[in-house]
């Protein structure tokens, strides 16, 4: 038989492996306490589930809706975000609904990035940024967050960008910078001052800003989520990305959105009409209804946008305490639902493990096998140069119900005893 000549295109060359494909398989065993993938095991609010159940009975909601976003959803989004941003947002021209924030990242990058462009990515980063930039033919330029207290980091706020180092990364080829705040995996909530440094550089170099703000509602006491698009000179060059999955604890709905000026969003809409055309109708309608419910109570502390973060703050504190009692040093996040931990202090010797993987990969696999607890290795979120720097960290997800955290507690208490 003739050799099969049909290989993949260059654009996806080398993009086949992926930390999730590797680790979700390993952690799928139900006996393992899964604090790895960012997946809530708490229930979404009941009204959200009810709204979706209602949609099946409405005939037209089972058929195609408007390609760029279901009318009632884009209207609701424009209302919520007009209030948050303090500016008029046109639901038809300034918003695109996508398949998750993932789909927004893809549409944005495909619309605006190409060969010859450079895109600045802050490390550690949500892992899809790098392959998506590469698929668009552009060059990722990495800059790490560095902890400013020499060695004894306890808060996500201790991880900062060096302004001079950042400025050096910008040049005439820099098409965009990807910002993620609140940040996955560290949980950093960029301050207004930090955002101003980034904004100044974007304006100076006429660079776009792709702002991944999926965890925008999950900020803890003493912190405020600031939207870079609201800084002077930034609206016209920023795409702000949000997620229903993170807002309402419904990751399986896979709905996200991009918000920005018409002259940028229109190109994302072109990508969308040539990739999947329209997102599912019933989910968009249910999401719109949920948004109206919470929009009406945005002045009320019971609004889910605030009540979820209160609920998560106590889980954060509990998770931190468990890890500290086990002798570990967690980095307390100011936002998001992840916590990173330096595991090198446990001195687990994995030098006999043959695999040429970074320490944290080996550690997590060992931890899953021998402790029945899963997490995600941090070097999955780094470019090639910084893997050494981050390979002593692993990431835990704490948007988990009490019984899951109880099970994690049992493992961590036991662990301490064994290694004493």
């Amino acid at each position: 038989t003739m050799a099969f000549r049909h290989k993949n295109t260059r654009r996806i060359e080398g993009l086949d492996s992926n930390v999730w494909v590797e680790f979700t398989k390993v952690a799928a065993d139900p006996s393992i306490v899964n604090l790895g993938q960012g997946l809530p095991d708490i229930s979404p609010p009941s009204y959200v589930k009810e709204e979706l159940a209602k949609t099946a009975a409405v005939d037209r909601l089972n058929q195609y809706t408007r390609g760029f976003g279901h009318p009632s959803l884009v209207k609701a989004l424009s209302q919520v975000y007009e209030r948050v941003c303090g500016r008029k947002i046109d639901p038809l021209t300034d918003i695109l609904v996508t398949v998750g924030a993932y789909g927004s990242l893809f549409s944005t990058i495909q619309a605006l990035i190409e060969e010859g462009d450079e895109v600045i990515i802050i490390e550690p980063f949500y892992d899809c940024y790098e392959p998506m930039v590469k698929m668009a033919g552009a060059k990722p330029v990495f800059i790490p967050l560095r902890y400013k207290n020499n060695g004894n980091s306890t808060s996500s706020a201790d991880w900062v960008l060096d302004p001079a180092e950042l400025a050096n990364k910008f040049n005439s080829k820099t098409k965009a910078i990807i910002l993620n705040t609140p940040h996955n995996p560290i949980g950093k909530v960029f301050t207004r001052e930090e955002l101003q440094v980034i904004a100044d550089l974007c304006i100076k170099h006429d660079t776009l800003c792709i702002s991944d703000e999926v965890y925008e509602w999950l900020v803890y006491k003493g912190n405020k989520h600031v939207k870079i698009a609201t800084l002077p000179g930034m609206w016209e060059r920023t795409i702000t990305i949000g997620s229903a999955g993170k807002t309402y604890s419904v990751t399986g709905w896979k709905l996200g959105w991009s918000i920005g000026p018409q002259n940028l969003i229109k190109h994302l809409q072109v990508v969308h009409q040539n990739t999947l055309y329209t997102c599912p109708t019933p989910l968009q309608e249910a999401l719109a209804q949920a948004f109206w419910i919470d929009y009406k109570r945005m002045d009320d502390p019971d609004c889910y946008f605030y009540s979820l973060s209160r609920e998560l703050e106590s889980k954060r504190d509990r998770m931190a305490q468990l890890l500290q009692e086990a002798g570990l040093k967690p980095v307390i996040p100011d936002g998001g639902y992840f916590m990173i931990v330096d595991v090198s202090t446990l001195n687990v010797d994995l030098s006999d493990v043959d695999e040429k993987q970074p320490y944290d990969y080996k550690f997590v696999k060992w931890m899953i096998r021998s402790k029945k607890l899963s997490a995600i290795p941090l070097s999955a979120f780094c470019g090639p140069e910084t893997k050494r720097q981050f390979e002593k960290y692993i990431r835990f997800c704490f948007i988990k119900k009490d019984s899951t955290l109880d099970a994690a507690e049992a493992i961590l208490k036991n662990w301490n005893k064994q290694t004493a």
Binding site: L39, P44, L52, G67, G100, G103, L112, G252, L276
Partner: protein, 441 residues
């Protein structure tokens, strides 16, 4: 002011600012017929036979499956499922299509779920087509194939279905539109990466015969070309015709990606659940593309569609099967609309499949005078006039042709007949009234 500004800015910044902000891959892909025609239908139509979606509901068993999935104890159906397809769905798809193809299919490697058949098409082009590649597209075609090939950097190569005159006195059938074998063969070159096959065909409703498929298959094998087989209307075949899967022909399994759609299969276009079936050596690259573009598809609809397929697996071939009921129902509607159009002088091409039919509106041309130097194809102007003045929405056939060929068949419009009886009756009333206006003094 401008002089001051430009001298102030560095040369490289000026260069950047004068470049368009959007990527080049979008060039030539921004126009989209649906954006315009959907808006027109929404504004003017009283009877919408334009965009292809049913105005009747999905079957009860499917809606019940959806509600059941949501009301259960398991709220984890609101969270991510397996990225390449919810396990119950890929399992039943592997079983179902394995039976149809006479093959053992592995749900994990031979099936991948996508956000509608649309995203499946996108993954195929992105995974296999790049600059230097040609892709053969048979005209008329579902309009997204062309921009998708372009966005992937490929060159579309078009080959038309050509109408043969029907037998005296008979209405034309979609079977009368055929490829010229020599013409088709001439389109294959060493640069040909793939051919897109759509059977049953949107917009004509043609169901390619075994002989026609063998013609295409032989060329694919001879030139070592991939086949992207869009079979979303696979269950909508009429008059006892058989939908033949090209992947089941000799030499084709290894080079074919079959694309299907829950939207069309279960009359739930708004659910946006589609799938690809094929050999692992092709699907592995679709998985790579998928995981770097949307990654996961929504969970609940996949669960409900899985249950729908489970039911159909048990009822396969039996009278209660939705896949038996639906085409029976749609054939009735087809015949009704054919009769309606024929009675007023619009000449329908009787479709062998899908829920579309195309009609020749030449007899109504007097209502919409020719504009000699118009950029817009005649049928497009006609369709716009018709929706604005008669409230009846349809899609011009030129929408399904490449730019260079839009005027080749410019007196046809496409109707969707997946509509309630009341809708088809209302369409008939409009047509009758229109005819009367033309014939009365």
């Amino acid at each position: 002011e401008i002089f001051k500004l430009t001298s102030f800015l560095s040369l490289s910044l000026q260069a950047k600012m004068s470049r368009p902000v959007q990527a080049q891959r979008l060039e030539g892909t921004d126009k989209n017929i649906w954006v315009e025609f959907v808006k027109l239908a929404a504004t003017y139509s009283t009877v919408n036979l334009g965009q292809g979606f049913p105005d009747f509901p999905p079957p009860d068993f499917l809606k019940e499956a959806f509600v059941r999935a949501l009301s259960g104890e398991n709220h984890m159906l609101h969270q991510y499922t397996r990225a390449f397809g919810h396990p119950p769905l890929v399992k039943v798809l592997a079983q179902f299509f394995g039976k149809l193809l006479g093959r053992d299919l592995d749900p994990m490697t031979n099936v991948m779920v996508t956000v509608g058949a649309y995203q499946a098409l996108f993954c195929c082009f992105q995974a296999f087509v790049e600059e230097g590649d040609e892709v053969i597209i048979i005209e008329p075609f579902f309009d997204c194939y062309e921009p998708m090939v372009k966005m992937a950097g490929g060159t579309p190569v078009f080959v038309p279905l050509r109408p043969k005159a029907p037998k005296d006195g008979k209405l034309m059938s979609s079977a009368d539109w055929q490829l010229d074998p020599a013409e088709l063969a001439s389109k294959f070159s060493e640069r040909t990466k793939a051919i897109v096959l759509n059977s049953p065909n949107n917009p004509l409703g043609k169901v390619f015969s075994r002989g026609e498929l063998e013609l295409i298959a032989d060329l694919c094998v001879k030139h070592d070309v991939l086949c992207i087989s869009d079979e979303v209307y696979e269950w909508l075949v009429y008059d006892g015709k058989e939908h033949i899967r090209i992947a089941s022909l000799r030499g084709m399994w290894d080079r074919t990606v079959i694309i299907g759609s829950a939207g069309k299969t279960f009359s739930a276009t708004g659910w946006k659940v589609g799938w690809t079936v094929g050999p692992n050596q092709l699907l592995q690259h679709l998985r790579t593309m998928h995981q770097n573009s949307v990654y996961h598809c929504a969970t609940v609809a996949q669960e409900a569609v899985a249950q729908g397929f489970q039911r159909e697996l048990e009822l396969y071939g039996k009278p209660d099967s939705y896949f038996v009921q639906l085409p029976k129902e749609l054939q009735r509607k087809r015949d009704w609309l054919v009769q309606s159009l024929d009675a007023v002088g619009m000449k329908p091409i009787v479709p062998e499949g899908t829920y579309f039919l195309v009609a020749d509106i030449s007899k109504f041309k007097s209502d919409v005078p020719d504009v000699p130097d118009s950029d817009e194809p005649y049928d497009s102007r006609f369709a716009k006039w018709m929706v604005k003045n008669k409230g009846l929405a349809a899609i011009p056939l030129s929408a399904f042709y490449s730019g260079a060929h839009k005027n080749n068949y410019n007196h046809f419009i496409r109707f969707c007949f997946a509509k309630e009886e009341a809708t088809l009756k209302a369409a008939n009333d409009i047509l009758q009234k229109w005819k009367q206006e033309k014939t009365s003094p």
